[in-house]
């Protein structure tokens, strides 16, 4: 199958995904940006007293954490559920497009949220050009989430328990990952987080965007290696199982 054609189809599906999801609601498309903004404000309100004094540029620090966690949660959940679709039973088409479009639509909507990040950067007189690094990171993150979604989307059809289990994992990641707090470098918190892919992306984003620094080698390595492993394993499993999908819906 041609990759260009698949990309085109995924793009079209993503477009209508977005169109469908918020038609009939007043704020429509804006909800995409409002939801993480709400989490952000909530966490800021609760934790700015306790962590705000010790962490430099705490609002930016927090916002970057919330961004990655929110993308992770939404994109993988909707990627996972994308194959629970009767379409697979009635039309022959590349089912990969369902998963790709589900993840893609969240990244498209994320562009709106980036605007908010730029405003914060300007407010704290950090160079808004650092956004470029953020976008590159987001591209790697996209591949990473795509791999996970491919895996979840195929396995979920065989074991429907995967869905609730994943929802629990995702929620617990909000607390295990240093999103609203920081971990001591070299401490046990950091050690545990070396097994947490989200940690790599969030840490890399913070050093690029807030401190205009190149992150540690191990962090950079993680940012490159996790997406590769994820997309490879995820796609191989998806590709092996996809012919059975139609029988399971």
């Amino acid at each position: 199958m041609k990759i260009g054609k698949l990309a085109g189809l995924s793009w079209t599906l993503a477009k209508y995904n977005l169109k469908v999801r918020y038609t009939g609601s007043w704020l429509g498309f804006l909800w995409y940006a409002l939801k993480p903004l709400f989490y952000f404000s909530l966490l800021l309100l609760i934790f700015s007293k306790s962590f705000g004094n010790t962490i430099e540029f705490y609002p930016v620090y927090l916002l970057l954490g919330v961004f990655f966690w929110n993308l992770f949660t939404n994109a993988t959940s909707s990627g996972m559920e994308s194959t629970e679709n009767r379409l697979i039973k009635s039309i022959k088409f590349p089912s990969e497009a369902l998963v790709i479009s589900a993840v893609l639509s969240y990244f498209v909507a994320h562009l709106f949220e980036i605007g908010l990040l730029v405003i914060l950067l300007v407010y704290f007189s950090i160079s808004p050009l650092n956004i470029i690094f953020y976008i590159v990171l987001a591209a790697f993150f996209f591949i990473f989430l795509l791999g996970i979604s491919f895996f979840l989307a195929s396995v979920n059809l065989f074991f429907r328990d995967i869905n609730p289990i994943w929802k629990v994992i995702v929620t617990s990641l909000l607390f295990f990952t240093p999103i609203f707090y920081s971990v001591k470098i070299g401490g046990p918190g950091q050690f545990v987080n070396l097994f947490n892919p989200l940690y790599y992306f969030i840490t890399a984003a913070r050093s690029f965007v807030i401190y205009s620094e190149i992150p540690d080698a191990i962090i950079l390595l993680g940012v490159i290696v996790f997406p590769l492993i994820s997309i490879l394993i995820g796609y191989i499993i998806f590709n092996k199982l996809k012919i059975k999908f139609a029988e399971l819906i």
Binding site: L13, R86, S90, K92
Partner: protein
């Protein structure tokens, strides 16, 4: 030329530790330009067979060879989203069928016209009646370029004039040497050149229109049918034969 070649086809499903065979040792050849009807009770394996031909299910045994591009109408609201407008739905659905944007642009007018939905282009689909949606679905499916068309009991939706239009379209396809496989458990398949009667995944009988009568006699065997219904049906079959006949 043979466009669909089915050899010893089998498909099994596991239902509560029990194996069932919706299609079993099924062999059939369909010629180019032929309209093949498939009749049979619910659960006879008709839809499963069609899904295998469409490449949606993978067969467990045997072999299917398809020569040509396939278009399908399996189920009614395939690829249609009620929260989108007619226009969006056409683009959405046609992209799924593999059409390019340019192709959709050029066919959009014809799709709407055939579905008799001019003036509704920007209305959301949830405001449509079931018949309108069925017409749209049918119209979208047949505007894809194809050599083989697989239909799973959809034409019988819509009003009489639209049914007539669909029948005419099917004759048009036949003239253009397209192959059509048409599944139904109703009996309105006077269009067919050949009819296969399927039961429990196998071919019970194969032949011309007389198969319909055989199938019907068998399926009412265990059911209570009033004399009146039988009389009405016989009349109807005669009518059909007269209409399609010679």
């Amino acid at each position: 030329m043979i466009t669909i070649e089915i050899k010893d086809l089998s498909k099994k499903f596991k239902i509560k530790q029990r194996l069932i065979y919706p299609v079993k040792n099924f062999s059939l050849d369909v010629r180019k330009g032929e309209i093949l009807g498939i009749v049979g009770k619910n659960g006879a394996g008709k839809s499963t067979l069609l899904r295998i031909l469409a490449g949606i299910y993978k067969p467990d045994g045997g072999r299917v060879t398809i020569r040509g591009r396939v278009a399908t109408i399996l189920g009614l609201n395939f690829g249609l989203d009620k929260r989108l407008t007619l226009r969006d739905n056409v683009y959405f659905s046609c992209s799924l069928l593999g059409m390019s944007k340019r192709e959709i642009n050029s066919k959009f007018g014809r799709i709407v016209e055939f579905a008799e939905l001019k003036g509704f282009e920007d209305v959301k689909l949830y405001k449509f009646s079931d018949g309108m949606i069925a017409r749209l679905a049918f119209s979208i499916a047949i505007h894809k370029d194809f050599d083989i068309l697989l239909i799973d009991e959809t034409i019988s939706v819509g009003d009489v004039s639209f049914m007539q239009k669909c029948e005419n379209k099917i004759f048009e396809f036949k003239k253009a040497e397209k192959t059509i496989v048409y599944v139904s458990h109703s009996l309105d398949i006077g269009l067919c050149d050949r009819i296969v009667w399927m039961d429990k995944g196998r071919i019970m009988a194969i032949g011309g229109r007389e198969i319909i009568k055989k199938y019907w006699r068998d399926s009412v065997k265990d059911t209570k049918v009033s004399e009146e219904q039988i009389r009405l049906f016989k009349e109807w079959v005669r009518e059909l034969e007269r209409k399609n006949g010679k």
